[in-house]
């Protein structure tokens, strides 16, 4: 498949002796939103983190199988710093650094060696603008990021990821702590961002998966039970287990 941004093949993942992912294969399409759904503990976050090797930090973890990013094996000779720049991550709880709004955004680019103030200014403005929060913060760039509301903080975190010019954005329940209005703003933003990025989002909100994703993957007990077009998954899934889960009949 030439439209594949990420191509996962026969992926097993272990936390020590515990096998958290079993033989997962998945094609993630370029410029699409892929939703990962499934009951708590089924391995969604684990899977998401294998995509930019965040799990490498967990002691005793083991990966089998391959993950190709633009055709290159990320568990091969791929440079990890480069990978994390290209495959950015937004977490469940907004986690701005205890510094100014400006510095939060400039942080990544600075690490990647950008010192020029004008260039940084541009990156900060562009990223905040793309994350649909520029108008709300442009007059308080030097104020602490922690003074923003939860929804604003989450958009700031998205801007922070965008600032290093990634290609893929991983989001782990990015709106679970937000009110419906902030949630809508993030959802609109995701819709906007997919023109330029490939997005994978974990969500427990079935309606959200239905609203924003092109494909939906249902995980169960560490297995990828079913994956398909979001319309198909929510209208006529093949697996009885998928149907029970999305219908809220699963316990």
């Amino acid at each position: 498949m030439n439209n594949s941004k990420l191509s996962v093949k026969d992926l097993d993942f272990y936390y020590g002796d515990f096998k958290a992912l079993h033989n997962v294969s998945m094609e993630v399409e370029k410029n699409k939103v892929t939703a990962l759904i499934g009951p708590s503990g089924c391995g969604k976050s684990t899977f998401l983190k294998t995509l930019n090797r965040m799990n490498d930090l967990v002691e005793g973890s083991k990966v089998h199988g391959t993950i190709l990013y633009d055709g290159e094996d990320i568990y091969g000779k791929y440079d990890i710093i480069q990978l994390r720049k290209k495959v950015g991550m937004v977490f469940q709880a907004p986690n701005p650094f205890a510094m100014s709004i400006y510095d939060n955004i400039a942080y990544g680019p600075r690490i990647h060696g950008i010192k020029n103030r004008k260039v940084l200014d541009q990156i900060v403005e562009k990223s905040l603008f793309q994350a649909a929060i520029w108008d709300e913060v442009k007059d308080r760039l030097n104020k602490p990021a922690l003074g923003l509301s939860g929804g604003q903080q989450q958009r700031l975190c998205i801007a922070r990821v965008l600032a290093v010019e990634p290609d893929v954005i991983l989001m782990d329940e990015p709106t679970s702590a937000l009110d419906p209005v902030s949630t809508s703003r993030i959802e609109d933003l995701i819709d906007e961002l997919k023109k330029d990025y490939t997005i994978i989002i974990v969500t427990h909100n079935m309606q959200q998966a239905g609203r924003i994703s092109d494909s939906t993957a249902f995980f169960l007990h560490g297995y990828l039970e079913e994956m398909g077009q979001t319309e198909t998954i929510f209208f006529n899934p093949s697996s009885k287990k998928t149907e029970d889960y999305i219908s809220g009949r699963f316990g």
Binding site: N236, E243, S247, G248, G251
Partner: protein, 220 residues
Amino acid sequence: MQTKSRIHFSNMMKELNEQILKMGIYVEEAMKKAVAALRDQNIELAEEVIKEDDRINEFELELFDKVSILLATEQPVATDLRHLTGAIRIISDLERAGDYAVHIAKGAKRLAGETYITPLQQIPEAADMARQMLKDALTAFVNSDEELAREVASRDDVLDKLHKKLIKKMLKYMNKDSEAEIEQAANLMFLARYLERLGDHITNVCEWVIYSKTGKHPEL
């Protein structure tokens, strides 16, 4: 692991199914009375059918609102969703079926003063059949019984044959000299036509049963 959950929603769905069955019984009764009124030339009975049609029309609107509220509050997906969208179509088919009973009742009133040119045979026979089909189609819906739905739809052929037989019979009166006989034959053909249409609506119900079960639109 499957446990009981969404009990409230399941109860609401069960309640809706029961009400659809009840609406079906009203329609069936209306059809039964309408044809009896025609056969027995009973004007009072015919008027009862006409009057009671309001109840069927109101029932449709009530169930329509009920389904809308379930869609808004429970946000069903997949089979549940298709069952509800199918239900919307089915109650509208039932409402139409009620209208046909009214048409037949009105015909009964028109023909009550006449002497029948021939004993009514195909119309009551077709009505009995259609009523059973309707009952079975709704049973198929509430039980998501695809096989039964297909079987019911296949009976529509018999209804069509009865209809053709009646038409043939009536056409014989068409070249008679008596204007009254011609008019009565034409009236009976019209009434038979409503039963044939009723069969089509029942087939539609069967199609919605299969749709809600499979997500595919069958051509029955």
